[in-house]
Subunit: 281 residues, 2 copies
Amino acid sequence: MDELLENISEQKFLENYDINSYKRPSVAADIAAFTIRYEEEENYRRCEKNKLSLLLIKRGEFPFKDCWALPGGFVRENETIEECAFRETTEETGIEPSAVMPVGVFSEIDRDPRGRVISNAFVSVITNGVEHTKGGYDASQASWFDIEFDKNYDGLFELKLNNGEIHLSALLKEKSESFGFTKYEIIDSGTLAFDHAAIISSSLKALRRCIGDFDIIFDFLPEKFTLTQLQLVQETVLNVSMLPANFRRKAADYVEVTDDYITGAGHRPAQLYRKKLNCKN
Amino acid sequence: MDELLENISEQKFLENYDINSYKRPSVAADIAAFTIRYEEEENYRRCEKNKLSLLLIKRGEFPFKDCWALPGGFVRENETIEECAFRETTEETGIEPSAVMPVGVFSEIDRDPRGRVISNAFVSVITNGVEHTKGGYDASQASWFDIEFDKNYDGLFELKLNNGEIHLSALLKEKSESFGFTKYEIIDSGTLAFDHAAIISSSLKALRRCIGDFDIIFDFLPEKFTLTQLQLVQETVLNVSMLPANFRRKAADYVEVTDDYITGAGHRPAQLYRKKLNCKN
DNA sequence: CAAATAGTGTCTCTAAGACAATATCAC
DNA sequence: GTGATATTGTCTTAGAGACACTATTTG
């Protein structure tokens, strides 16, 4: 009886509850989509060089019209933020991510001149070879930019983006780190829109942190790959180099061989591997 | 001249831009505040046992009136989500967190019966001994609950909360893991409010993941502590046990000795240590 | 003295890094 | 054959786990 009364009054409460009586921020998702692009070598025998690249759009609207920005947009009533991240990436760039991974929330009050906009940042990894970028309805152009992000002599971080024609660069300072998520303060945004220089930096840091886990690393490659390709992904993202023998030992637990080999490389053919499932050892 | 025109039209655009023309979700912060509580031992010589505890409030309002929930609330116009997390924790429980760390965003469409509410989850770690919980203006009661979270025979996760009087329990399934952030699907929420069983599970998982890094671990302890206390924190959070000799070796790089000792323990007095600053080796 | 924790030393095992050596292909 | 990568094996070193041993206090 008491419970019945309680249910009725809860129902009444909810009917009279006006969620619109509070002022609410807008909520957006911004997506840092990474891929690895190959650079031709003059020597036919040599391995191709790899470059880590980030997908940006040239904004077609104010604010930051004609500036480069991460793909992203406002969350809709009937979708989760993850769904919004998928949708916006596809709409604005023509690329369908296979997965998006949350990396943090950016809620500084004045980060968007249009008003209060809270942005949830996502990292997405695109299998190499997807060069079918396009400009969507609200992005006039999409392009892959090679990305570099390193600490300079001051202890500040330099973010450099380069698509062959356009060079963007920004300067940032590490602000805080917790739970493996790092926030950066923008010293100089260059011509990147909003606080996207900081979002990009945090996203790349998060990507680097987890690329050694043999988890998302496979998202950079087709189903079958050589161990050298796998190693190059890790080396490219982390900007380090490793000895093949040692890398193979580490990777062994996470891959399984196939019967296929690559061919025509001008040297001993490499065996193709695939990701091993159900390996949590 | 062109640039001037551009600036004028951008200004005009922003003046005419009505951010309220889109339907927007409400945005909230929910905080999982952890501490370690001691359990008395009958034997005066014995070490106290430790329990990992979580701060919950009993809801004074609909929806989920009288259910237990994480402290939290809606973000205001003039604060970041991090600031909101601080404010709500203090308002609702009387406890001032020294830091809050983001762990993820929960945006399922129907997670709140009042309407569309997107929740940003935070973990906070409270130095042991803060027992001054209170009920704030919109929380009728606040209390620390011992927390257990383990995989059972089915592969499902059981979340158990216990404050001496009240036992709460929930059943969850691991849904996805990326970037070290794990999402859970609620099978049975028990009497926990909203999707807080899932938020609590993700938060504890995140805490466990980083407690071995000798970073936030110190937030559980006063400024000076013994190595045994430090070890007990790690053991309690991870629910494991380690040999003191090995733990000391690992911890050595992150602490520095003081001249003080504990006394009156019925055994050899332990030297007190403090967190070493600037150690990134 | 007994019981308990504090703290040290050392053996073993594993994983990572360095490096040498062999295999295989395309030109 | 030459020049490149593919692949395997092994030596060394660093760190974690196991465990034995000593030190110190209070009832």
